[in-house]
Symmetry: C2
Subunit: 388 residues, 2 copies
């Protein structure tokens, strides 16, 4: 029996002074339980998505979730990690536990605390998501800079498309009260190298990079025979995970092969094509990633991802709006939280609770969460099982 | 449908010069696939147990497993972490995936690379498995020293029992060619504070502490309707996971409440008592842990764990030999590998392939793997489904 999402919590993303990894986890967990109307004693297991890799000293964080409620004592709690896709890793593991009959109620939390460190320290920690044997010292902006450079060399300069993506996601974040940056910075600013928008890792500019953020999101999954007890529920039409080789040297930098596989498998499971989707939240850790994901998801042939912008498909009001939440670019990217946040925001869309972000009559939504540069790829196709 | 273990690999544990986390993972994975007679292309998913927390720069290690074989490309791979129980976390997640129908063949690997660091650096990394907000800077010997001190204060000095445990496990390791230390150091040496056996964290002596080790272990799980294809198989009569509060200040240091819960739940699932077990591999990260586990597993009432030694129950040839492999104490403790190693060694016992470690006619075996000081607790009860 499958599992559905019946409640959620989501902290504001941003520089959250006074918060710790523990307080973020506890806050999101309590909010999700309250939203679902589930008592802590009913929870059968807890799954935590958290990357860490030196961001905080809490190297054994799963049991921090038990701090949310004394009734969580003696529940199983497990941390799942797949770099920036750790949140989805936790969701997929929790869903398996319910499908396995091991749990009927699962609490999933994704969390990360990052902003207390200097930028260089954050870059070093995130760099541990590279292939140490060949990529040591390479930051993630540098890694995605290589993807962008390779892509531009093969298909032509797409700096303007990247700026369109940044401007779109910043504009979308105006409708998301939980987003870290809520400012319509505009295409011209994003497309111009300036003191305020310098090159970070050629050809990527500052506006091509997502944010350093604190934050957490949580959700409650229950076995589908329990849905009568809940006012709304969002289920999985598909969920596919595809890992690719870790070394960049073993992958084509001009195409996202792992992500493309994940989308193909998810569409096949769901029995749909990309044109059946009403919205997507995808992993724009860098604008070049979102551009390449347009191709991986089948919106455009290789090298023509920019068409999705030029034709307006992925804009608010377009056929397949992408990152109505503001994306990692403007909503923020507390890495372990991101996958859970994406699922929470998609669930809100599907039950009509997305507020100003709402896509009218959203029936089928897609989440694509990625660890590393196309290495750990999670694609979920979600739909409402029960509307509010 | 449940899953069974049909093949395994296990590197030597110890100071393995020239090995990296990647080479350890790759070596154990290949050995397990070959032992099971499974081609990489048949694998549906990969689960990695690895703690890391600063031991190596590879913070995103799941996909390192794909380096074992090109045919593993595009398989899902996920890291599971629960400190020193990360190996069991990976096994439990993989088993759930098979029971969920998500996978039919799962490759599970546990690995850790530790000995390239100085002792103080290893202690610092392992210290990240404590509760940072209250226990920062406290090493694990110091943490278990507090347990031993509290236990001694309540029940009386048990230094001699701890020395008996150390001596037993060292002697047992003589029969395990993969063990890190194969030397019968003797009770007198373990029970005497000396230059070679100093107090590390009172009342614990050097011989009360497990080793710093490199190593990996791997196993292949398959859906039970595939067992006809394999020459031997070991299944789960029970598998229980119980997490306790992370802060030591919230737990009784004189009793292992979380571990006791895990044993009770596993016995109930299996429909057995402790007296039905033929052997156990338990988590002797420190000798005081093994002593307290005798009580948690129900061999003796609170405070009387030493009886298990005095009566000879847990010795080789006793009613319930504990740690015939040499345990973490002498086999070694590459932390992420340990849970997988325990399951591999138990499986070998149950199909009569444990070599000189073999317990005659072993039909029912217990594995208890622990993260932190009784925080993440995994108890498996295993039995042969098909003998070789």
């Amino acid at each position: 029996m499958d599992a559905s999402i019946v409640g959620w919590g989501h902290t504001r993303f941003g520089r959250l002074e006074g918060e710790t990894l523990e307080s973020l986890i506890v806050g999101a967990a309590r909010e999700a339980l309250a939203d679902a109307g589930i008592a802590a004693a009913q929870v059968d297991g807890i799954w935590l998505g958290n990357f860490n890799a030196g961001l905080v000293p809490d190297g054994f964080a799963a049991s921090l979730a038990l701090q949310a409620d004394d009734d969580l004592r003696f529940k199983p709690a497990t941390r799942c990690e797949n770099a920036c896709a750790s949140g989805s890793a936790a969701i997929f593991a929790a869903r398996n536990a319910i499908r396995a009959g091991e749990a009927r109620v699962a609490l999933v939390i994704g969390a990360e605390k990052m902003t207390h460190l200097a930028t260089a320290e954050v870059a070093e920690a995130l760099g541990h998501a590279g292939y140490a044997a060949q990529e040591a010292g390479l930051t993630f902006p540098a890694i995605f800079g290589r993807f962008a450079a390779a892509y531009f060399q093969k298909w032509g300069d797409r700096s303007a498309a990247l700026a369109q993506i940044a401007a779109k996601n910043h504009r979308n974040a105006l409708s998301n009260p939980l987003a870290q940056m809520r400012k319509d910075v505009g295409f011209a600013f994003c497309n111009t190298v300036s003191d305020k928008n310098p090159i970070v890792a050629a050809p990527l500019r500052l506006t091509d990079c997502s944010l350093v953020s604190d934050g957490a999101a949580a959700l409650v999954l229950v076995a589908d025979d329990m849905l009568g007890d809940f006012r709304r529920a969002v289920g999985f039409r598909a969920a596919a995970q595809v890992n690719d080789f870790l070394p960049m040297s073993r992958r084509d930098l001009t195409a996202f092969e792992g992500p493309a596989q994940a989308f193909r498998r998810a569409y096949a499971q769901a029995g749909i094509t990309v044109h059946d989707l009403d919205f997507a939240e995808v992993h724009d850790c860098f604008t070049i990633a979102e551009l390449m994901l347009y191709e991986a998801m089948g919106l455009a042939p290789p090298g023509q991802g920019a068409r999705a912008l030029d034709e307006g498909w992925v804009l608010k009001g377009g056929a397949l709006p992408v990152n109505l939440s503001g994306g990692l670019k403007a909503k923020g990217h507390p890495v372990g939280a991101t996958g859970v946040s994406m699922h929470v925001i998609a669930a809100r869309q599907l039950v009509g609770e997305a507020g100003d972000m709402q896509r009218q009559d959203a029936a089928l939504g897609c989440v694509f969460n990625m660890g590393g540069s196309g290495v750990a790829n999670y694609c979920s196709i979600l739909e409402a099982r029960k509307a509010g």
